[in-house]
């Protein structure tokens, strides 16, 4: 058997919409088989995974909390990736943003004013942007590959946070445990609506997605990003500077990751701890691509990925299984979504009997 792709003359509108559903269908079938093999009832497993988290108000709030940092970071990354700048250190920028924003509630905790919160957010964005400025500078002026530098700096940021919360910033009243003092009420990001604990981080995420979408679609900057991303040469002819674009995209994505960091800390954790992120900066890379690097698509992708975490826990509780099959299921879903997107640009032909090519190359 051979599979062949044929490029469609135009992007298929039909499959742009349909492909995620085809992927979902395939995941349901294969996931169902997996749960059946594990001796669990597939229907109730799939129900717990996809539907149950959406049926209750509290869990919708949790969905928003989980999705907010993913969307915020991924929106920033989409600008980077579209302009061909491979920032994979958003995790580090997230952490540094959280640290910078926490200077006020941790070091200057006695200053309580309505100004604290906006300043924290601003500092968070600056912290993330400054940390992203390191790989930006190294790439723009010393020609150093940003994949390596941004990734390595993630570990540095994690260790810096660890050092802070165990040393200088440790809560003096906290029995010497590694965490800072809890933030004052003036430093806590408020809830968006009264029905649950989802905070304004989600609002920031949606706002950022809309703004970046607008920028990409309707402004010259968006055009510049796309042109430079497709061909540096073409960009140069149009008078765009790829060096300036490195700075722009890295600082922007760093700032958004930093905002995500401080929003998460201020809204959900309310203190600094040795670990403040279960890998949001890395998961957001998947979110960015699942959303096809389109800010609005990223909002959907972020919500779907967040759902897989919530659903995973729901299945664990309702079926009494370990979390390993859930990870596998999550991987399956991602695989199917990614591969079904092929349908948007290509027609797939299955060649059961290969008569055209007698030198049979095997898989093509």
């Amino acid at each position: 058997m051979r599979i062949e792709l044929e490029r469609r003359p135009d992007v298929s509108k039909l499959f742009s919409i349909l492909s995620p559903f085809i992927a979902l269908g395939l995941t349901l079938v294969f996931g169902g088989i997996m749960f059946m093999l594990l001796g669990k009832d597939p229907l109730s497993a799939l129900y717990s995974f996809f539907i149950e988290p959406l049926t209750e108000v509290w869990s919708l709030h949790e969905l928003a909390i989980k999705a907010a940092p993913l969307i915020l970071i991924a929106v920033g990354l989409s600008v980077c990736y579209r302009s061909n700048n491979w920032n994979i250190g958003a995790e580090g920028q997230f952490i540094m943003g959280a640290i910078a924003g926490s200077i006020l509630p941790v070091v200057f905790y006695e200053w309580q004013s309505p100004l604290v919160l906006p300043l924290m957010m601003l500092l968070g964005m600056m912290g993330g942007a400054l940390f992203a400025a390191i790989p930006a500078f190294l790439k723009a002026h010393l020609n150093t590959n940003e994949i390596l530098t941004s990734l390595m700096l993630v570990y540095v940021a994690q260790l810096f946070l660890d050092w802070l919360v165990r040393g200088a910033w440790r809560n003096p009243g906290g029995m010497n445990f590694p965490e800072t003092r809890t933030f004052d009420a003036t430093a806590i990001l408020p809830e968006m609506i009264a029905s649950g604990r989802a905070h304004w981080g989600f609002g920031f995420a949606i706002l950022a997605a809309i703004l970046i979408w607008f920028m990409m679609r309707y402004t010259l900057k968006g055009f510049e990003i796309t042109v430079l991303g497709q061909s540096e040469r073409a960009g140069r002819f149009a008078g765009f500077s790829s060096r300036k674009m490195i700075w722009f995209s890295m600082l922007l994505s760093g700032a958004l990751a930093g905002l995500a960091g401080i929003a998460e800390v201020s809204g959900a954790i309310q203190q600094l701890r040795p670990v403040i992120s279960p890998g949001y900066g890395f998961t957001a890379i998947i979110v960015a691509f699942l959303g096809r690097l389109n800010p609005l698509g990223i909002v959907v992708a972020g919500l779907v990925l967040a759902l897989t975490y919530l659903g995973g826990e729901a299945v664990q509780v309702s079926l009494q299984i370990s979390d390993k099959p859930i990870r596998v299921f999550q991987g399956l879903l991602l695989f199917f979504v990614l591969s079904c997107d092929t349908l948007i640009h290509y027609k797939i032909r299955m060649m059961w009997f290969d008569l055209t090519d007698t030198t049979a190359d095997g898989v093509r």
């Binding site: 229907l43 509290w58 029995m175 010497n176 509780v317 979390d323």
Partner: protein
Amino acid sequence: MKKILFALATTAAVIGFSAAASAADKAKICFVYVGSKTDGGWTQAHDLGRQELEKALGDKIETQFLENVPEGPDAERAIERLARSGCGLIFTTSFGFMDATVKIAAKFPDVKFEHATGYKTAPNLATYNSRFYEGRYIQGQIAAKISQKGVAGYIASFPIPEVVMGINSFVTGARSINPDFKIKVVWANTWFDPGKEADAAKALIDQGVDVLTQHTDTTAPMQVAAERGIKAFGQASDMIKAGPETQLTAIVDTWGAYYIKRTQAFIDGKWETTSSWDGLKDGILTMAPYTNMPDDVKALAEATQKKIESGELKPFTGPLKKQDGSEWLAAGVSSDDGTLLGINFYVEGVDDKLPQ
């Protein structure tokens, strides 16, 4: 096809029904784990405790758990999910779950919570911990007897009071036998990374320690010690399989006794909030068999264990000096629990600077 669907639907209904029926007359006891329940260390010990609980009270209760729950907002959500799914008593088994547990406990006043190794309580939130340091004192004494060079290696995870307390207890025990005994400490900055723990073990052995102890979770250091032919102590579970001729003893976390005690109280309606800090005498930790040592050392270890169990011996009893030589405890004075729970200094004999 229709038949299959029908069959599936009925099974689902039956399962759903039986779950509902059993939930009505059985109390649901739930656990939140920070790691995987088969991590061979901290979380596995808690899960073994859960299984013991099921064995002991299985006709009256059912248990449920969530594993690999990251600390932070994810923990809050996981605990809330359990609280909403009808759990009556929820054990959250990592220090990092403290504030999440406090928040959810305030939200669900009818559900009882127990948080391991923390210090915040509420009317429906108790804390529990284990006096691991009692076992470390015995280990220190054994090390001082076994070691030819008078230097032990200590693989530490993170500088939190729990770990510092263990180091101090180990040194105090060792120095009760050999007043010149010293230990070298390597901070691995991880609870769980076999490779890094093995590297740390090699670094210590290469620099001349001839007894190894660890406060990280995998058996990798035990394997390295076995390979290099020195003796070592296990952590969290009996690691004798990793070093049949290497392990002297191990501190085994046996939470089961505590879980059964508290669950029984819960069923009887006698559950009250406490801050319990049980030790060897309560069975919340046990010593793995004393092996690979001469009989007189074994006898000493057993005698010390008895003294600790009876309360005759308290590991942190003066005269004890801090690392800088200043006095910590005067002769005959024992440390209070409050100091221990927040301890952030070394006693004399530790060849390391405590990360501050």
